[in-house]
């Protein structure tokens, strides 16, 4: 308790000050031993909770790596699916995923950004129509993936659109699945552009679209891109809706966008993981390593992008 300014006082004043301070501290910091113990236990529980969550994550990654690591090689990317586990690879699955995701991005970016622009820039804020669309998008975001699979099967592959179980139908289904996420992310990015930028542009005589095209969109691109990358990484790992397109079947021919008979990486991983043979599970683990590596790169890029271009107005 020494070393403070009270050192300058001498004699009885110093003793008095120290005594008063000690008395105050004793009264205020006196807590029954039970409370201290309870606080410590609670803190230990919190550390435990975070620890368990992190240990689960690490165990998952390490387990996949240990099991799949003996199978990791470049042949995995180029070898076709095969009945013989030793030279089986993911060629068709990887190609299928690339087509699915590529086509999906082509569809979901213009539509998602367009919907966000309409809601933020054109629609009257708080109008009933805007609210209806907003609630609708919130609900769509919570519809289970497998229900989108039913939509794809009954509405796109068969039913009214009836294009067959072709790869493009799967891609459209994935696009509808991630559309709400893209719209929500794009809206946030667009909303973050301050109104003064728009007002300045409009005051100089630009039309509304010119303002959006030259002022709002360029400022919102990093945020939109982050949202798009995160939805791509979600779609890349999504297997459930594709099951309904027969994507879990054994495919040995390279996929074509407008043909049936295709598969995707997560679906093939599922098919392999559902088998009991250890060699096939090993192959599944190797597939998971590939998938997680791609996802990790994409997500890190998204986070980097967000931090790099986060603009403070």
């Amino acid at each position: 308790m020494s070393g403070g300014p009270e050192d300058r006082y001498a004699g009885p004043a110093r003793v008095g000050a120290a005594g008063a301070r000690a008395a105050t501290e004793a009264a205020l910091s006196r807590q029954p031993g039970g409370i201290v113990l309870k606080n410590r236990l609670f803190r230990a529980f919190l550390y435990g909770a975070v620890g368990v969550a992190l240990v689960g994550l690490v165990a998952l990654l390490v387990d996949a790596f240990i099991k799949g690591q003996p199978r990791l090689s470049f042949d995995l990317f180029t070898n076709p699916a095969s009945q013989i586990a030793d030279n089986a690879g993911f060629r068709q699955a990887i190609l299928g995923s690339i087509y699915l995701i590529g086509l999906m991005v082509l569809m979901v970016v213009p539509v998602g950004v367009g919907a966000a622009l309409y809601m933020e820039e054109y629609g009257k804020r708080g109008s009933r129509l805007n609210r209806l669309i907003e609630i609708n998008i919130q609900n769509l975001a919570a519809v289970p993936a497998i229900v989108y699979g039913i939509l794809g099967l009954a509405f796109i592959a068969r039913g009214p659109i009836d294009m067959g179980k072709i790869l493009l139908a799967g891609s459209i289904t994935l696009a509808l699945l991630v559309l709400p996420t893209v719209i929500i992310a794009a809206r946030e990015a667009i909303r973050a552009v301050p109104p003064s930028i728009r007002e300045g542009s409009l005051a100089l005589g630009a039309t509304q679209w010119q303002t959006i095209r030259h002022q709002v969109l360029p400022a919102a691109v990093p945020g939109i891109l982050t949202g798009v990358i995160l939805s791509v990484s979600r779609a890349l790992g999504e297997a459930a809706p594709l099951l309904l397109f027969g994507a879990a079947l054994f495919v040995t021919a390279d996929p074509q966008p407008l043909e049936v008979g295709w598969t995707a990486l997560p679906v093939q991983i599922y098919t392999l993981a559902a088998q009991a043979q250890p060699e096939l599970r090993e192959l599944a683990a190797a597939g998971i390593i590939i998938m997680l590596a791609v996802l990790l790169v994409m997500n890190s890029f998204a986070i980097w992008l967000r931090n790099r271009y986060e603009q403070k107005w």
Binding site: P144, L176, A239
Partner: protein, 317 residues
């Protein structure tokens, strides 16, 4: 920034009307296109409802609604259409998942919001976000290739009728729990961080300990956000397919015993639609009836969650 963005249209004389020089058809076309994009979301919802309802209505022409909702045997191949085993299957996996995820998720949320130093927070939060981004098929693989063998090894004798077989509800629940911990943690943490610090400081000034502030002040103040996170997590767990397909087995069963196997609603849809059931048969339509039930359950939960979120936003924003 570019000159093109600035439309300078000559000198405006005093008598000139304040109207665009041209009708601007391009602007109108663009607006119409953007409106079309926004309406696509409503079209999607309509399409989902149509694609579920039409076969489901056919189904209920053959099978009475009461039989579907209340009978306890499910075997479409033998004309038994009681959906109870699938619903119980789903909720027994969800139950075990929540038993794991609620303490872990809320503990992590309280830690991140009240206890963690900014530096620790900056590391732990993104790591949890990564966990949220792991595809569920990878979590399911972890369950079937790591957790179940582990449980088989460490199971205490015939406890609960164990040791477990190749599939078990408990391991599926644990995987589901791992999937929803980040959802609970991040939404609850948002809710707790948005509690004004004045409330905390007031409690500290009255001599409350840190734990008391966290559990008696911040937690109740953030309760609606926390409830929203739990409801959203349950709805996500109910709709999850790949984990239950891989880990929970695929046998309709009415049980909450973690050692047994069940078939969840989503797993039934995934399995049946993959096989080759002829279109138009009752069996085929069963998929859509179960899908409708699943859609209604998750929709109801989501509406509840949205309501709770709105409530806590109103209080503090």
């Amino acid at each position: 920034m570019e000159a093109r963005g600035i439309a300078v249209t000559g000198s405006a004389g005093p008598g000139r009307r304040l109207q665009a020089a041209s009708p601007r058809y391009g602007e109108k076309a663009i607006k119409a296109f953007l409106a079309g994009c926004a309406f696509l979301s409503i079209a999607t919802t309509t399409a989902i409802v149509i694609s579920l309802m039409i076969p489901a209505v056919d189904f209920f022409r053959d099978v009475p609604v009461g039989d579907f909702l209340f009978k306890t045997e499910f075997a479409p191949a033998q004309d038994l259409f009681g959906v109870i085993p699938l619903v119980v299957g789903t909720f027994s996996v969800v139950l075990w998942g929540m038993l794991f995820a609620i303490p872990i998720g809320l503990g992590a949320a309280i830690y991140l919001s009240e206890y963690a130093s900014p530096r620790v927070r900056k590391v732990v939060k993104p790591v949890l976000e990564i966990l949220a981004g792991i595809p569920t098929v990878a979590i399911g693989f972890f369950g079937v290739a790591f957790l179940i063998p582990l449980f088989q090894d460490i199971w205490p004798g015939t406890f609960l009728g164990g040791p477990p077989g190749f599939y078990m509800v408990g391991a599926a629940g644990l995987c589901i729990g791992l999937m929803i911990v980040p959802i609970i943690a991040s939404i609850s943490e948002d809710a707790m961080s948005s509690v004004p610090s004045g409330l905390r400081e007031g409690a500290y000034a009255l001599g409350a300990s840190k734990m008391r502030v966290a559990t008696r002040v911040v937690f109740p103040a953030a309760l609606s956000g926390i409830v929203a996170s739990l409801v959203l997590a349950i709805s996500r767990a109910v709709g999850e397919t790949m984990i239950v397909l891989l880990v929970a087995g695929n046998t309709p069963n009415i049980t909450f015993n973690p050692v047994e196997v069940v078939q969840a609603m989503t797993a039934f849809i995934g399995v049946s639609a993959t096989g080759d059931i002829a279109q138009g048969t009752v069996e085929y339509n069963t998929v859509f009836a179960v899908g409708t039930l699943l859609f209604v359950i998750t929709l109801a939960m989501n509406l509840v969650a949205i309501r709770f979120v709105r409530k806590y936003r109103q209080v503090y924003e």
